[in-house]
Amino acid sequence: MFEYVWLIPLFPLIGVVINGLFGKKIKNEAVIGGIATLAVVGSFVVACGILFQLLSLPGEERHFVKTVFTWIQCGPFKADMAFLIDPLSALMLMVVTGVGSLIHLYSIGYMHGEEGFYRYFTYLNLFTFSMLLLVSGANMLVMFIGWEGVGLCSYLLIGYYFHKKSAGDAGKKAFVMNRVGDFGFLLGLFTLFYYMGVNHNVWTVDFTELAKHADLIPVGGVTTVVCLCFFLGATGKSAQIPLYTWLPDAMEGPTPVSALIHAATMVTAGVYMITRMNYVYIKSPTALLVVACVGAATALFAATIGTAQNDIKRVLAYSTVSQLGYMFLALGCGAFGAGVFHLMTHAFFKACLFLGSGSVIHAMHHALHAEHSSADPQDMRNMGGLRKKMPITFLTFLIATIAIAGIPGFAGFFSKDEILWQAYANPFHGPVNFVLWAVGATAAGLTAFYMFRLVFMTFFGETRLSEKAWHHLHESPIVITLPLMVLAALSALGGWIGVPKVLGEALGGLPNMYEHYMEPVLAYSTEYMHTAGLHGLHSEAAEWGLMGVSVLIACCGIAVAAALYVVKPTIPAAFTSTFPALHRAVYNKWYVDEIYDFLFVNPCKALGQFLWKGFDVVVVDGIVNGVAAVFRGFSGILRHVQTGFVHNYAYSMVLGVVVIVACYLFR
């Protein structure tokens, strides 16, 4: 089965070609959507086969590289078009194809009747293709194709409603921010390649090769540079501080896109990439600290913004940013497995949440459309009480919310708890550990709060819709609800593959299958930590205690949300009017966009303007034209020597003679 790994990205590519070239002619939505969905399902099937074959192998053999052809070869540099299969990429393939299939299916319903239906599915397939390339690439270059490819698709899909200026802007912003990250990625790649080559004669960008020579990677120093550069790449792609601002804007795209790209898959690329290179990161405690701090800060920061947003998708977007922060917190604590685990569970519940919100928006849109209202179908202030009309959506949404809030038993609990524990117990950051944990825990509380705020505002209370609109409101069709149900189930149950050890033992010896599964990928890091004497805290009591605290915080968050939005809905308004500045700041996302505009965008434009009008035209061209003008001017002056008078001519001759003779006589 491994030999056929190239089929996985190929199927969606075929979908792209068919839909892209002939989609306009086909016109039939079912055919278009069917082709696209089938392509991804096909990939999913192959991925499943690969996973099963992988699982059938012993741990140390779970590694396979399939080279299709040599892509670039130039001097010592060589990049093959090759695919890597190991537990990490298999897991990612499963997530991408699995969630991807569901979302494709969902999209058929959601995008029904949209202009450019074929275009949508072309892009979506292209995205799947790129993402699969990203997670299965055997070297940095193939990964980079995917890396940029997903950026491209993100751009295209965000700008899907291109006639809206905001959509175009958001797409461009996403791409450019990603490019800033790519800048880091490339620099990291160059540095690593060059360093390993020139010092150790290992000229490679291949993950397998690098892993083989991981011992040669020095501790600290250049490794830190490399790691930070790659991390810059990750912040761009995974929307971390300082490059996170594109993600909330990305909600301009259709909702399934948000679910697929901006929640489940693409934004986790950074996490994947760092995990893929864990043997590099483990060598640089500094870089790990930076990753952890950025992750924690992002988690908290985005959560605060999430509390004050009214757009249902924006809340989810900030939630995504926040959850990604968690993942990076885990990575920064050396808990690569935990990071990827949260990536997976997050993919389930966040996809579910987005799709659920999509379902709501879909319904709201139709309802408002029927009324010819121009009200925003995404604004939670227009909703309320929807649980009565949309029970399936409500239920699935609620499950996912509980999962994200970290209520025990649901997927989010297991992964988040693991991260918080690792933040507290990791051997890398010493006293900072507690801060990291505290920030993480606070963010968890905020998460619970704003997620339930969302649920309460949307599904509870009385509707704020008009009678007519309310009448038109109804549950979404099966293609939409089916993925919701599948994802809700996964959100509920997906976490059980990675039950923490203490909990597992308490529950009667449930194994942590996930940890075991990931072992081959992280073998070098574990080994290295072992030999370097980096041992984390081992205390069952502390683990239990922290688990309890985090659950408590989550519950508090839910309680506050319930108190504010169900029991006493007047309090938020009162709070807002008491601290208008704070609210305004939070509501306006701490003015980060404005600050960026002020710091980077506007100066760049101004500089461009200046360089063009002020420098290029005036100075550079000025010199060129100036030389010409000087010549012409000089010519204009010099020609007046030619007075037309014989005397002057004779004078010039005599003067010439005199000077010549004088030069000889008086030298």
């Binding site: 007075t643 037309g644 008078f645 005397h647 004779a650």
Partner: protein, 100 residues
């Protein structure tokens, strides 16, 4: 016999005077006369050299210069007449239709 330089200096003075005349006079005919003066100054030098060197080449040269001067005079005066016919003047300050 006088020193050669006596003749040469007289010749130089005449040459310079001719030169000044060309540079300062306005009448084309006078300018031409000044040119003739310059040529004659050179002729004097030629003959002096010839005499003091004891060879005839210089004198022969003078002979040809005279011929040339005559020919130039014929052509030059003809040109002046033609110019005068058109412009009613032989003031060189009027010879400036073409300039710059």
């Amino acid at each position: 016999m006088l020193a050669l330089n006596n003749y040469l200096i007289v010749s130089a003075i005449l040459f310079s005077i001719g030169c000044i005349g060309v540079l300062t006079k306005r009448n084309a005919i006078v300018i031409f006369m000044c040119v003739e003066l310059m040529l004659n100054a050179v002729n004097l030098s030629f003959i002096a050299f010839s005499r003091y060197l004891g060879n005839l080449d210089g004198q022969i040269f003078v002979f040809f210069v005279m011929t040339v001067a005559a020919a130039e005079a014929a052509v030059g005066l003809a040109l002046m007449i033609a110019f005068y016919k058109n412009r009613e003047s032989i003031d060189v300050e009027d010879i400036n239709v073409m300039k710059l």
